[in-house]
């Protein structure tokens, strides 16, 4: 639920309650005031009756045009107490029962106590309460409509900088050098938020750069000791009279140094691609390059009895030539190294896609993890788990897509432009 919707709902509920309470109290208050007014009217009538009697020495006649009903009943021995109350009485004028305010008071006239009843209709109160309820309902409705309209226009407009900032954050990617450009806003909270976001992203960017530099520097620093170890091994095998055991040990050390160098080179390469060090793009026709590569790999494939089929069309791409070379090497090495003896490799080059398929393990590989760094299908694999992430990284910087598919027992890697 949107903050806005939630706020509006609470706001509306509170408003409804306040309006109901206020109309109720208004109603009660008005009623009290009206009754008091009416009581003072009735008291006025009492005074007029008293002065009438004093002046004319007779009981006044009721005027049929008057709303008030006035009765004089001799009280006899009954003791009359002055009182006022609300009663239902028959209205001659409206021919139905009606609410009346009734005042009863004692009157002493010609040595007799009379019980005087003065009643006045209170129909106005009914109309008033109706009017009050209608007015408050209308006000609540108006408040709801106005708040909906406000939400739709004004508040949405007020929140616009927030959504804009969120949009910018969503598109934010580490490693893009341009700094974020938040829209200027006069609202304090939003400019505070933008400031904090800017600080956080700049910090992240700095850390990321440091990390990238670290990878590159670390790989560089490793080159020299690796060179030394390799050169010492090269010298060691020149020694005469090495025993077979010693030769085996050296060979094993050699193989590991080889792996370490390759791992180091791959990391360095990844760092360099990420650091955009291959930015000399050229338009290149893939067809002759792929043909060349097939020739280069042919010997390797023959030695493993891997059959190669290919179908190549002209395909012009814009890419750094160095990266393209690495890309093809990695794809073809991959198709060879994970193949079975006596397996197949199928290469299809079309106008906008290159598909390299190979036989291999029977099951599909995990597509999600496949391109991530140091992912290996088997623990004993000879590969360092970086080949495919290099392919992915090259694809990313060269704006092409790299995908994996498993169909008909063939593992396919698809590059699309």
């Amino acid at each position: 639920m949107k903050l806005l919707t939630k706020y509006s709902l609470v706001n509306l509920a509170v408003m409804v309650v306040i309006f109901l309470l206020s109309s109720l109290s208004l109603y009660l208050l008005t009623q009290t005031i009206l009754l008091r007014e009416m009581d003072s009217d009735l008291a006025g009538i009492e005074t007029r009756i008293n002065s009438y009697i004093k002046q004319y020495h007779q009981l006044p006649e009721g005027n049929p045009l008057d709303e008030e009903k006035i009765d004089f009943v001799p009280a006899g021995n009954q003791k009359i107490i002055r009182s006022s109350e609300l009663v239902q009485m028959y209205s001659d004028r409206e021919q139905k029962m009606h609410n009346y305010r009734k005042l009863v008071f004692p009157l002493f006239f010609q040595n007799t106590w009379y019980k005087v009843t003065v009643a006045k209709p209170v129909e106005g109160m009914h109309h008033l309460s109706n009017a009050l309820i209608n007015v408050s309902l209308a006000t609540i409705l108006a408040a709801i409509i106005i708040s909906v309209i406000l939400n739709a226009f004004l508040i949405r407009r007020l929140w616009r900088p927030f959504y804009k900032a969120m949009e910018i954050m969503r598109n934010f990617k580490l490693g893009r050098t341009e700094s974020l450009n938040f829209p200027r806003t006069t609202i304090e909270e939003f400019s505070f938020m933008n400031e904090s976001l800017l600080l956080a992203t700049e910090k992240a960017e700095q850390d990321y750069l440091l990390l990238k530099e670290f990878t590159e520097n670390a790989s560089h620093e490793m080159q020299t000791p690796l060179s030394i170890i390799r050169s010492k091994l090269d010298m060691l095998i020149q020694e005469k009279n090495l025993s077979q055991k010693q030769s085996e040990l050296v060979t094993e050390a050699y193989a590991s140094i080889k792996k370490l160098s390759r791992l180091n080179q791959s990391l360095l390469l990844l760092a360099k691609i990420e650091n955009q060090q291959f930015n000399m793009l050229q338009h290149i026709n893939l067809k002759p390059l792929v043909e060349d590569k097939i020739l280069q790999f042919n010997e390797l494939w023959q030695s493993r009895n891997i059959a190669v089929e290919y179908d190549l069309e002209d395909c012009i791409v814009q890419i750094s030539p160095d990266l393209l070379d690495i890309l093809l090497n990695n794809l073809l090495s991959n198709a060879s190294n994970h193949n079975l003896p006596g397996g197949r490799i199928v290469i299809h080059l079309k106008q906008n896609q290159l598909v390299i398929s190979n036989t291999g393990t029977q099951a599909a590989l995990n597509e999600k993890k496949l391109f991530s760094r140091f992912y290996k299908e088997s623990v004993n694999s000879n590969s360092n788990g970086l080949g495919l992430s290099i392919i992915k990284q090259i694809a990313k910087t060269s704006s092409l897509t790299a995908a994996y598919r498993f169909t008909g027992n063939m593992h396919s890697f698809i590059l699309q432009w």
Partner: protein
């Protein structure tokens, strides 16, 4: 013939010198920029191995200095920085070749040999080893019995071996030389066995001694110390 090894890592410098020096070569090390400048201005070298990152200065400046002195020494840049710019600058400044660390010593040796041949023989060069003559311009090898019919890879392999005479060369180093560094062969080098076998057979057929020796599981050795007994035995 003198070689200058400008490399600040003493251990690496020692290995390079130990590998390259033989009856024909004397190796001199220089461990920093100033020492290198002093040496290039006082002596001439057949080939200079130049590391770019040096204490007290950049190797590329040594190259400029060298060209400024009008010297024609061959220069092979060895750098840990596999950066394209360094390579392009280095070659533009007149270096003859560029090798990235970590490298195989046999690769270094083969490249140094190639540079020296180019400098010394003005391109009309030949390699003569016992019965074997390689004409580098025409890319043809001859034995006692005439031209040896070699494939491109076999020819390259032979030239590589002659740059590493009497040295044990690993299969990895051979594969890297012939197929380049980027192809990941997944440690399967069996297929070079075919090339070695064919080359050996062709050399023997052409009347050369059996120069190529397998060394346990490690690699091969182009052994010119092989006496003619072998051919005599065969004959």
């Amino acid at each position: 013939m003198k070689l200058l090894v400008i490399e600040d890592e003493i251990e690496l410098s020692k290995s390079i010198c130990a590998y390259l020096k033989n009856d024909n070569f004397i190796c001199e090390p220089a461990y920093d920029y100033n020492e290198a400048i002093r040496k290039i201005s006082t002596s001439n070298y057949e080939c200079i191995l130049l590391d770019i990152n040096l204490p007290m200065g950049n190797g590329l400046n040594i190259l400029k200095e060298l060209k400024g002195l009008g010297k024609a020494d061959g220069v092979l840049i060895i750098s840990a920085k596999n950066s394209l710019n360094d390579k392009v600058w280095g070659l533009n400044l007149g270096a003859d070749d560029y090798l990235t660390k970590p490298f195989h010593l046999p690769e270094l040796s083969a490249r140094v040999a190639a540079i020296i041949r180019r400098k010394t023989f003005d391109g009309k060069n030949r390699i003569v080893t016992g019965e074997l003559i390689i004409d580098l311009q025409d890319k043809v090898a001859r034995g006692k019995e005439g031209v040896i019919d070699l494939t491109r890879k076999e020819y390259e392999l032979l030239v590589y071996f002659t740059g590493n005479k009497n040295k044990v060369v690993t299969k990895e180093a051979i594969v890297e030389h012939l197929w380049g560094d980027h192809i990941d062969m997944a440690d399967n080098y069996d297929f070079i066995y075919t090339h070695i076998k064919n080359l050996r057979r062709k050399l023997i057929q052409a009347g050369c001694p059996d120069y190529i020796k397998a060394v346990y599981g490690m690699g091969y050795k182009f052994d010119t110390a092989v006496n003619e007994n072998h051919t005599i035995k065969k004959g």
